[in-house]
């Protein structure tokens, strides 16, 4: 019995429209270098989104990913400098950074699930706490690190003309797609997000699924913080501060529902490219910086509303069919 996976054509159409408008207004929009520039600008958001989809699918939210990225970036740079910029030192730095992210994620998870505090409040509070810790270890300075060859390669290295950062997003995307769609953990995540009680009654430790979701979100936030520090060849406590909002927008625009249990990682591709294209197109079209935030807000509304109407129509069709059969 072949089952047709219903693909909604709204999202690709909207992207296409934007691309056409932008190209008409500035021929060089479609040039290879500009496309790579757009991808480079959003790929770090993408890496973060690949991790933060897990808490969202569990019906929670993670506002602390920006601060975690700053903390992990700083930890990585400090450890690298401590080990004298050697490649091994940088590896140690990267591991330390990811460990820091995992710890923050674990705290988010434990407090949300053992103390039943809404994850919005927990991660909002942790955002401040982690920012304070990051400022403390960097003494509010910018720590530069130009000599680490590994960092420079990660930050600016290219494979087949495409920066390594974009490849790291592609790799992360494939891994997360595989986990969500082709592993038990992925299925358990969707089940816990849809109905936590029913999952527990099916003998699955839904609390562990929830806590591990925050640990994954913490780790990917750490990885994106490290990539950012390699790209900038420096670390500062206020880097990636606005990231949690944009990543949330990309996920929701990509069809991930705030209530949990719904949405797929493929939606992030649409969310990322939409945000990336809007910002790039606005600059190429000479839109004054003053209006850029506002236009982004309006386009987010349009994208999410389109998604809502297409889903509403498909549900209406399905329920009619069921009603006819049942009644």
């Amino acid at each position: 019995m072949k089952h047709l996976r219903k693909i909604s054509y709204q999202k690709p159409l909207m992207l296409l429209a934007l691309i056409v408008i932008a190209t008409l207004l500035n021929r060089s929009f479609l040039s290879i270098s500009n496309i790579i520039s757009i991808l480079l600008a959003v790929c770090i958001y993408g890496v973060m989104a690949c991790g933060t989809i897990f808490p969202l699918l569990n019906g929670g939210i993670d506002l602390s990913i920006g601060s975690i990225a700053a903390l992990s970036g700083s930890v990585m740079v400090l450890v690298t400098i401590h080990f004298g910029y050697t490649p091994a030192g940088t590896m140690m730095g990267i591991l330390a950074g990811i460990a820091a992210g995992a710890v923050c994620g674990l705290i988010n998870g434990l407090v949300s699930y053992y103390f039943l505090v809404p994850s919005f409040v927990v991660t909002l509070a942790m955002k401040n706490i982690i920012l304070g810790v990051a400022q403390h270890i960097t003494h509010q300075n910018t720590i530069i690190c130009l000599e680490s060859k590994v960092m420079n390669w990660i930050g600016t290295g290219k494979i087949a003309g495409v920066p390594f950062l974009i490849w790291s997003f592609v790799l992360m995307f494939i891994v997360v797609w595989f986990v969500l769609n082709r592993t038990k953990y992925g299925k358990y995540t969707y089940a816990t997000g849809g109905n936590e009680t029913a999952t527990r009654y099916s003998g699955i430790n839904s609390r562990m699924i929830g806590i591990s979701a925050f640990v994954i979100s913490g780790c990917t936030a750490a990885i994106s913080g490290i990539l950012l520090s390699c790209f900038n060849r420096q670390a500062v406590a206020t880097q990636a501060s606005g990231y949690d909002g944009n990543v949330l927008v990309m996920l929701v625009v990509g069809g991930v529902s705030m209530a949990g249990g719904e949405g797929n990682i493929t939606g992030v591709l649409f969310g990322m490219s939409l945000v990336g294209i809007i910002n790039n197109a606005m600059l190429l079209m000479g839109v004054d910086s003053i209006y850029q935030d506002m236009i982004q807000g309006i386009l987010i509304v349009i994208a999410v509303a389109l998604d809502y109407f297409s889903r509403k129509r498909s549900i209406a069709v399905q329920t009619k069919k069921m009603e006819a059969k049942a009644a």
Binding site: M1, N181, N195, A198, G203, G261, M322, A326, A327
Partner: protein
């Protein structure tokens, strides 16, 4: 059939959804102060008829007459103005508001249009409570009330705008025998005061001792209107499912040699259970009866590892049962929970995903899974249990009660279980599917597996169980084979007055 004027007439009601005729020329009438039963399989058009009466759906054709006057009911307010009110199965109350606030929700008494007149509301509520001798604390928050008390709030709500007709949809579904008894008392009192009741239920004995008249629907047509004397079980069932339900003789099956054995020794929990000890053998269906709150569900939850127990030993074939749900499942113990909508299924996921949820460890050795195998397994179960669903990909929320329960059963049939615990298997399920579910449970038992069924439906217990365990207030009261037991034996035992004391 006396032809004196009736309170409500629904004539030639016709309603069709694209491709299906849901109500075909239905006539339905309710007299003044009459309790009118309405029965029919899920999908017989029962709920659609009620939705037309309460203005949620417009009818394609047909007229509604209330108190002799023809009325147009487009929405809830028209229904309310005609004195029609509904108590749905999942009650529509606001948990964080108090009883009074809930009673007057949508119809508050106000001082000058804006401010609430709490004193006047309290007085009016007190009046209603006294009139019907309810025992309820008007200031308690509804979330802290038992289901029975919440139902009283719903009834008060209808009486508030002196409803002439109160429609009750499966009111006793989550009530124990005592609470059902007091509800019937209330219904009789309302009848005496001249309020008519439309009583929808699957439990024939309730209809039998309450209803003055009964309308039976099947496939959108009225199959007959019976007066009180004409209501007999076999006839009604025939009208409902169009064929006779073969009356299995309730033969008592003995445990099959070599079947698995579940032993529970003095299981106790701090708040309720007290040294529960019993044994269940493969091949037999052990029914557990008793009142709500007597500890039946808690016992199942302890066995399945969802609830901590301070002392007691549970073993399956000699091997002690773990206390974590995940490991218990691997030891071959499954639970069909009480509330299938909230505990049984993930409504947003498809039938295939739900069935696979408990079987990933069986279906796939590594953590890698393939959607193809999930869909294949689902199709197998759908065919095996004859689940009515277009395909495996349909979301569970679109299925009827009976089909959802079958999906929950399918979740466990895939595994080679040793023990299947079932909590209220057929609540809110039509008679046809009920019979199928009993068949499924029997076939599981016949394979030498232990089947334990908790049920508040005395008829059900008598029909399917080979041995019956009665719990009273967390203690094992009686453990008797189901030979020649009758409904009142169980009722007496459940309330702790067994025959032995009487003699």
């Amino acid at each position: 059939m006396n032809e004196e004027k009736k309170l409500l007439y629904m004539k030639h009601i016709r309603k069709a959804f694209p491709g299906v005729l849901v109500l075909d020329d239905v006539d339905f009438s309710v007299g003044y102060g009459e309790v009118h039963g309405l029965m029919g399989e899920n999908g017989a058009g029962k709920s659609t008829l009620i939705k037309i009466l309460t203005g949620i759906y417009p009818s394609d054709e047909g007229t509604i007459e209330v108190d002799g006057k023809e009325v147009q009911i487009q929405n809830k307010y028209d229904a309310a103005s005609c004195g029609i009110s509904v108590i749905y199965q999942e009650l529509s109350l606001i948990p964080t508001l108090t009883v009074i606030e809930n009673i007057f929700l949508g119809q508050e008494l106000t001082k000058g249009k804006v401010f609430l007149d709490r004193k006047a509301m309290r007085k009016r509520a007190q009046e209603l409570v006294e009139k019907c001798h309810f025992d309820i604390d008007l200031d308690a928050a509804v979330e802290n009330l038992s289901v029975a008390k919440q139902q009283i709030v719903e009834i008060l709500k209808s009486l508030l705008f002196d409803a002439k007709i109160i429609i009750m949809d499966e009111p006793t579904a989550s009530l124990n025998i005592q609470e059902s008894e007091s509800l019937f008392e209330i219904i009789r009192r309302l009848k005496a005061q001249g309020t008519s009741i439309i009583y929808i239920s699957h439990r024939l004995e309730e209809i039998w001792n309450l209803a003055d008249r009964l309308t039976v629907l099947r496939d959108g047509k009225v199959r007959g209107v019976l007066s009180k004397e004409e209501i007999e079980p076999a006839k009604v069932v025939h009208m409902m499912i169009g064929k006779d339900l073969q009356e299995e003789d309730s033969v008592v099956h003995d445990p099959i040699a070599g079947g698995s054995v579940l032993k529970i020794e003095n299981l106790s929990t701090p708040e309720l259970l007290d040294k529960i000890t019993f044994e269940a053998r493969g091949g037999q269906i052990l029914g557990i009866g008793g009142l709500v709150g007597s500890g039946r569900t808690e016992t199942l939850e302890c066995i399945y590892g969802l609830r901590r127990y301070t002392e007691g030993k549970i073993t399956i074939d000699g091997e002690t049962v773990a206390d974590k749900a995940g490991r218990v499942r691997k030891q071959g113990i499954g639970l069909v929970p009480e509330d299938r909508r909230v505990q049984g299924l993930v409504q947003g996921l498809s039938v295939a995903d739900n069935i696979a949820l408990t079987n990933y460890d069986v279906m796939f050795r590594t953590s890698y899974i393939t959607p193809r195998k999930i869909v294949e397994t689902a199709d197998k179960c759908i065919r095996q249990l004859r689940i009515k669903t277009p395909d495996g990909m349909t979301k569970c929320m679109n299925l009827s009660g009976g089909n959802q329960q079958k999906v929950v059963l399918a979740k466990w049939l895939e595994r080679d279980l040793k023990v299947l615990l079932v909590d209220e298997p057929t609540v809110g399920i039509d008679v046809g599917s009920k019979a199928e579910i009993y068949g499924i449970l029997r076939s599981i038992a016949d394979q030498g597996k232990v089947v334990i069924v908790v049920s508040s439906d005395v008829e059900e217990l008598l029909k399917i169980s080979d041995r019956i365990l009665i719990l009273v207030n967390g203690k094992v009261y009686d453990d008797i084979p189901n030979r020649g037991l009758t409904a009142d034996d169980l009722l007496l035992a459940a309330s702790g007055m067994s025959k032995k004391e009487e003699v």
